[in-house]
Symmetry: D2
Subunit: 359 residues, 4 copies
């Protein structure tokens, strides 16, 4: 059983290799009657595309989305929404360097061992190019969520050793997009920029952390005992290329706290029930409680570096590798819309799932 679908009721199935003819996605289960703003979908893709700034790869890709079905007179019809992004023509390129060896910390070796065959051109299906289809379908999930008032905002909270020291509640998240690294805190943003430029100059790469805040999520989303909302969010994030960790609310730090510190007291405020603190991260017992949902996602440094590395070729001989080509020295600025998209896909699915909760 293959793993190219995500979600149950709001369900996407994606396809496509980095250097094939196209990548694309089918959304099955988008409710009928949703107004679809194609410009919004394209704008989300533009946030992800390469070549946006001096910090990202200067590889240019247009990533222009085309909708083939499921929309009629500007609205979703309840039928599958298919979206395509055609790849540019790579025919003339030379892949012989990649064909015969396994790049360190890439998926070359594991894919070849798993399937016995590997489309080595640009990483094939294992390329992060695949995430463009997540962003395109996530944009439609965002439109559905926005219809119900839900807002998702991710931002970069660490690049390498540089961290944004402020809790999200003290940040103005509307500033995220005006920062080259997508960190709404100007001071740490500048330091991160510099760190990325230095890594790039050294032929090296950096990891980072993305934080995500979801506001106005309805109470009651999440399906225990296995499909707890944060479990599905966690899976969604961990399925993104290069992600190594996920934490919700207090996360790993919470593990070192005492119960009396960590518990979120219920209080009465604004004529409703709220919690005084939010170590739970907006989810209790796997179900959203109406507070802000807050989580963090760790990205490893980009595996492709210009520096020379040791590896093994497909004949099992040890060889040296010096990557050529244009790659991001740090992926997190471009991964912000991907994190948002996967969060949106997860929530849209749970929004529909919760419709079956009561008679």
């Amino acid at each position: 059983m293959s793993g190219n679908s995500f979600g149950n009721l709001f369900r996407i199935t994606t396809f496509g290799e980095s250097h094939g003819k196209a990548i694309g996605v089918i959304i099955d289960g988008c409710p009928a009657g949703l107004e679809i703003d194609i410009n919004f979908i394209q704008s989300e893709l533009d946030r992800r595309k390469p070549g946006q700034s001096k910090l990202t790869t200067n590889r240019k890709e247009e990533d222009k989305v085309e909708i083939l079905s499921g929309i009629f007179e500007g609205k979703s019809t309840g039928t599958p929404i298919a979206m395509m992004i055609y790849n540019k023509d790579h025919k003339s390129e030379d892949y012989s360097a990649l064909k015969d060896l396994y790049r360190p910390s890439h998926a070359d070796y594991t894919w070849e061992r798993k399937f016995g065959i590997r489309d080595y051109r640009g990483g094939g299906r294992s390329s992060a190019r695949e995430t463009a289809t997540r962003v395109a379908s996530g944009a439609i999930a965002k439109l559905l969520l926005a219809h119900f008032g839900v807002q998702i905002s991710a931002f970069v909270s660490a690049v390498g050793a540089i961290t944004n020291p402020l809790p999200y509640s003290l940040l103005d998240l509307s500033l995220t997009e005006s920062s080259l690294v997508r960190n709404p805190d100007a001071d740490s943003s500048k330091l991160m920029e510099r760190a990325i430029e230095e890594a790039k100059a050294r032929g090296d790469s950096l990891g980072g952390v993305i934080s995500c805040v979801i506001k106005n999520c309805p109470v009651g989303l999440g399906e225990p005992v296995f499909d707890k909302l944060h479990a599905d969010l966690g899976k969604a994030m961990l399925s993104i290329n290069a992600v190594k960790g996920f934490e919700i609310g207090s996360g790993f730090e919470g593990a070192s706290m005492r119960g009396s510190e960590h518990n979120d007291s219920f209080i009465r405020a604004d004529n409703a029930i709220h919690t005084a603190t939010n170590n739970s991260g907006g989810i209790q017992g796997g179900i959203s409680n109406g507070e802000d949902i807050f989580f963090r996602v760790a990205f490893k440094p980009v595996a492709t570096i210009a520096k020379s590395q040791q590896t093994v070729n497909t004949s099992g001989e040890e060889v040296e590798l010096s990557a050529k080509g244009r790659h991001d020295p740090c992926v997190v600025p471009r991964a912000v819309p991907i994190v948002e998209a996967m969060a949106a896909l997860t929530l849209a699915d749970h929004l529909l799932r919760a419709r079956g909760n009561r008679i």
Copy 2:
């Protein structure tokens, strides 16, 4: 769509409330011909049951498992394996204290808001009692994996602020069970014991971290792009009560590293391809690479504490709560077999899924 099933091909469906007649699990998809050692299943449950040591609740529950179907002449037959654990008789107990209020950082409020009705006796379905069915079914997953040589070992690596400082490769994991806290490092184990006893004495609770190592996993498990092996492991762990974080391999620490440090060079050793380091945690591109799989799971402190707390009752009035009853001051020692069980269920599912990879 409810969430009481886990896995796709090796699939469990669980049921039962804390104070109902029974809890139980059906495994659908266990291949025929597997020898089922019922004593092993019971021994796994015994590792999870309350009252094992002075560190856990002194509530006594037998958690005796009974198999109702799917086994014939000692072997699995390919039909569903149903397992039951009857609850002791709780009829005489008084739940009025729980009925009318929402315990802080518990699931009372969210479940009631979600379903409009709540079995308040002992937490109902949201109780961690439910995890016994994970351990029972996970034991059968372990038997299946053992048939193919796979070994799963979890241990406690932090309790509150006390951490086991050693990497797993320097630990003798066979010592885990002889430690009251299930930490194979004697020195930090003692400190953890003391920390738990102190928390208990203060009417407080502690969180902690469990580490898990999987040895001898076949190369090729994991189904990109969404069902990456570590994404499914992450979801499995995050679905366990009280879990707030998950990281694989280098995890959050990896986010602050440079690519040249983080990349795992391929080498030739023992006539096979291996990696010189294992920041990947045994999974690359979402697929197992044959190295040890290694991950860490963060547990928040137990929400039920003896100390007095502020909360709100079902009428929305603010009230004070002092929990009575016997609860664990720290859940991680008993959660070790749960982590192993969920890892086993995840791997068993992917073992079967990988059978479709090649013609």
Copy 3:
């Protein structure tokens, strides 16, 4: 991937062998707040149980249902509803006759070839005893549907060569239960009774046809293009032991009609849109149109007969078989509640699925 679950949102998973400890079912996805009348569930099981009349096996089984979870204070809570039916003690019986041979037109041979192991006691999992769990869970589906006004009525329309000649619209379906064969037409019912008694006397068996009518189904159930409502009803029926055929509306007869005869004209009646005829059987384009849903299900004659038959044993030698024991000469009277149950499970699932159709 095993096949012991049915439904997507209203989903059952069943277990149990004919001569194991128990059979049972978990319903996951029943919405919270539904009043559960346990007596109704038991009464449905009583319609299916053996030994009801001179026409069925005189084997006595009580089939008493026990609910273990998911109900609190008389209502569904949204958590899994587990139901158990314990088997009587078969320990003293002798199965050696069945152990070593393959009964004609039974599942002995195929199950053994598929799984390499077979619980030969009473047919194991392949026994129609399994259908009791369909009836128990179907009863809850019926309660859910009744809440929305939907009514399901099946009846026997043929036994062997004897057919009930009247269309359902001319029958009083409230009379079904007062007929031993569950045919509301008294005249053909008598003939059927006699045919069954004759077959029994000859040591032979008969097949038959069950018709089913669903009244008051909401417009809009069914999920094209693959999960058309009649496609899922067809699968549901074909999954019942001994079923060889399914037809909806005009069915096979419709294949010989002309379009101008077959088309159901839309008309305006009772201030709503209806069809003048109902060759569609209440479903158009895979979606219910508000007219009566009508289908027919063909059952083969019972495979177990007293007459001597040729077969092969597990060593591949040809042997003669004369079945002993007490079996139904015709299964259709007892299959009426099974057909209704599977129809109810299918509709309950689609009722919930349709909740996602519109924003």
Copy 4:
């Protein structure tokens, strides 16, 4: 939960409206290493396309398939295979006649009631044009099955009241394609041709029956108790536009037989176990037994006819309709490859599912 996917392990997801930009399909789960002959896929599509003969619509559509992913150097790679069929440009057409009324026995009314919005151009998603994607993906399923020796052959066995009187065992199925109606029996084929031409001349339409034979299916496919092989085949067939009935083996006729007639005795032949007769239709207890799988599918007459009909418009007023345009007077000749495709998709899925049956 929408219904645009079919299969579990060999799984297709389709999209597209009749008059949208394109229709297409993603196959997820095709094992790696399968040689993909694109010409074969196109040839299967050509068997389905309109305008093949004087008996079908003279509407011309090219239905040219393009593969976008999942194939590398002529072989499947284990990643999703996306296939596209672009629609011709319909921009200039006038749909006002269809926009405002509900065609009898079409899906116009039910789709509009279900989703609140309807792409009325050419029937939108409810058009049988959608079946082209089934044929394209079914062709790849056929390639997979052929690798394991399985052969699927469907043919027309009835058109209106004209039936092919011979059992399939007396027919030369290699002659099917040389008959305009796809009936390998020359005599009845001629009668059917004439019947279709007469219906066409009268502005009317005819239904029919397609029979299907599967040879060399491995023993052991099918997953009881719900996913019996014939239950999944039945659903597959009933999901095809215009299908009203399905029967396996003896089918409805079997319902009137006695057990002693109907039972298939096991015999020893060719050094293997076989059955002397095949009323079971190659499936016993829901599992293939190695004999020919044989089933029949009933198609209603095409709903679109030139003759004038009564119907209702979207304002609920009764109006008269005379269909214009070019439609098939009888769909069964073109439905033969669709039946084969759905059978192939069902078997391919079960072939992979059975890989989990034994340890």
